[in-house]
Amino acid sequence: MEKKRLNDLRADDYLDISDAPKEETIESTEKMRTAIALEMNSDEAYDVFRKAILREAKENAIKEGGLMAHSKQMSTVLNFCGNMILEAALTREEAMSSLDLLARGVRTLPTRFEQWNEKGRPKEL
């Protein structure tokens, strides 16, 4: 993995879908009680989630280098995406067709990195 260049990155280097984190084991901390009490809307919660992933990736980049951090970030993201879809979809068929649709949607938009190349460095990087 370390020797790969960015263009050589392959998704199957990093996916491992595990079970979603259990609410009952995490919710009990003071930090979580405070976060739940804030009653954020879903956009705010997504923003907090995205920033948490980015913060972890930055910490990993300092410890293990950019490529390893990116690999771990992708792994985390795919794991959470998989769990979110399994939670929302009723049937496996619906989950699979939603992923197909997602792929079609993703083709229409640039990645954040591609946006960065076009418009300049994003503020949080």
């Binding site: 960015l6 998704a11 405070t34 919660a45 997504y46 923003d47 995205r50 049937t91 939603s98 993703v106």
Partner: protein, 131 residues
């Protein structure tokens, strides 16, 4: 139940990542200051998506469409967030598409939460009948 599943094509509207659209409210600042781990933040996000979907379903009270509309909204939010997460993290479009392809392979062996719930109900019903 199959007939109640919304057509996916009608529910996805991928919009760009949200931070440009999210107002920096005090509660958002407080939440960011908590420095939640991704697992903790994921639980909050999951709860908020479910709460919003329930709110939508409640709006259709006493209507056969309540569950359908709640589910439709939940799928829409979930897919939008999942799409943005992948676009935020992948470097190239090729990597993003490969990641989604891999995700669909990974999901093939998994059951949805609803399917697990259904199986659990059937198991419980079976136990009651045996008793």
């Amino acid at each position: 139940m199959e007939g109640d599943v919304p057509e996916i094509e009608k529910i996805l509207k991928l919009k760009p990542a949200v931070e440009e659209h999210v107002e920096e409210t005090d509660r958002l600042k407080k939440a960011i200051e908590l420095e939640l781990t991704p697992e903790e933040a994921f639980i909050i996000l999951r709860q908020r998506i479910s709460a919003k979907a329930k709110e939508i379903a409640d709006g259709f009270k006493n209507s056969a469409r309540a569950g359908f509309e709640g589910h439709r909204y939940q799928m829409k939010l979930t897919l939008n967030f999942a799409g943005n997460l992948v676009l935020d993290s992948a470097i190239t479009e090729k990597e993003a598409l490969e990641a989604l392809d891999l995700l669909s392979k990974g999901l093939r062996g998994k059951k949805t939460e609803y399917q697990e719930w259904e199986e659990e109900q059937r198991r419980k019903d079976g136990e009651k009948k045996t008793e």
